[in-house]
């Protein structure tokens, strides 16, 4: 089966397919900001080098999480902006949408962040992200050759992930 190249270093844009592969790209970060996985399926424009791109994405989400939690009108807590929060605490933002893409986000209490960027008409991907987290557990965490906290290099995980993402987007 065909799957698109997408390594963590310098992915070359894949040829567009006829099947509706509407997912653009995906990131997985751990709690220390290390980008464990970057997969790219459909990204015509590259403006930054990969390291900057990952930092930007992580920083964006870190700030968004903090902001959305502090602005929560239903929360009784009066935290200060800028005070770091425990992962999973407070309200959790799960997606934002622009006119050209939708970014879906999931964070586990252990700090694993999964980000999926798709076309703007995608529905709620929370269940899908949970499923991807399960895939991560099965193929990566349980893999004794994988050292936690390092970039993921498991071909089986990549393959299964590509297959799954193709089926949801």
């Amino acid at each position: 089966m065909q799957f698109f190249g997408g390594s963590e270093i310098s992915p070359s844009p894949p040829a567009p397919t006829a099947t509706g592969n509407n997912a653009h790209m995906m990131y997985v970060f751990n709690r220390n900001g290390v980008c464990l996985l970057y997969r790219e399926w459909n990204r015509p424009l590259h403006t930054l080098n990969p390291q900057q791109d990952h930092k930007l994405m992580f920083g964006l989400l870190f700030s968004l999480k903090s902001l959305t939690a502090k602005m929560d009108p239903t929360s009784a807590e009066k935290g200060n902006l800028g005070v770091p929060q425990l992962p999973g605490q407070g309200c959790s933002f799960h997606s934002f949408r622009t006119n050209t893409y939708k970014l879906s986000f999931m964070e586990s209490p252990s700090g694993i962040k999964i980000i999926l960027v798709t076309h703007p008409r995608t529905g709620d991907l929370r269940e899908s992200l949970k499923y991807i987290y399960n895939l991560y557990v099965e193929y990566v965490v349980k893999n004794p050759l994988y050292a936690p906290g390092t970039p993921i290099r498991c071909e089986l995980f990549n393959t299964t992930l590509d297959q799954y993402v193709r089926s949801i987007a």
């Binding site: 709690r31 870190f62 929060q85 586990s108």
Partner: protein
Amino acid sequence: MRRTSSDGRSSENAELFTLTYGAIVRQLLTDLEEVEEVNKQLDQMGYNIGIRLIDEFLAKSNVSRCVDFKETAEVIAKVGFKMFLGVTASVTNWDADGTCCSIVLEDNPLVDFVELPDTCQGLYYCNVLSGVIRGALEMVSMKTEVTWLRDMLRGDDAYELQVKLLKQVPEEYPYKDDE
């Protein structure tokens, strides 16, 4: 002979697990000779297991973030131990500020068939469990200290682990701002 344990799993799997763990401890005793060293290794092994186990636990059990340490201890005892060892533990002995408690196990699958000989006094046979709890909690931002208070292999009437919360470590922004 095939008995099924109360959670429906064939106990042949459980026996293999118990025997494998026993073999590991025996090998460590042979390699390291010092009981204290073996205790430390078991704890380290447990820690390495715990930092991975936490993701499996979170994915399978679907619990959301615990509000406080009390809830955390309950979840470990009721959900965690049940999921991975097939036994339920209970939480007792809370201290005044809710940062220290005991988890008590009546039943412990690791120690089926085990008797400690006199040459192994001082060995915490189940020390891998204390490492697992410490490792798993560290991945959810809690630094803890886990020690054994009671150990049936040493003559007590139950297994009691003391779990003490040292501090919560919230996520810091990991990149320096100067680039």
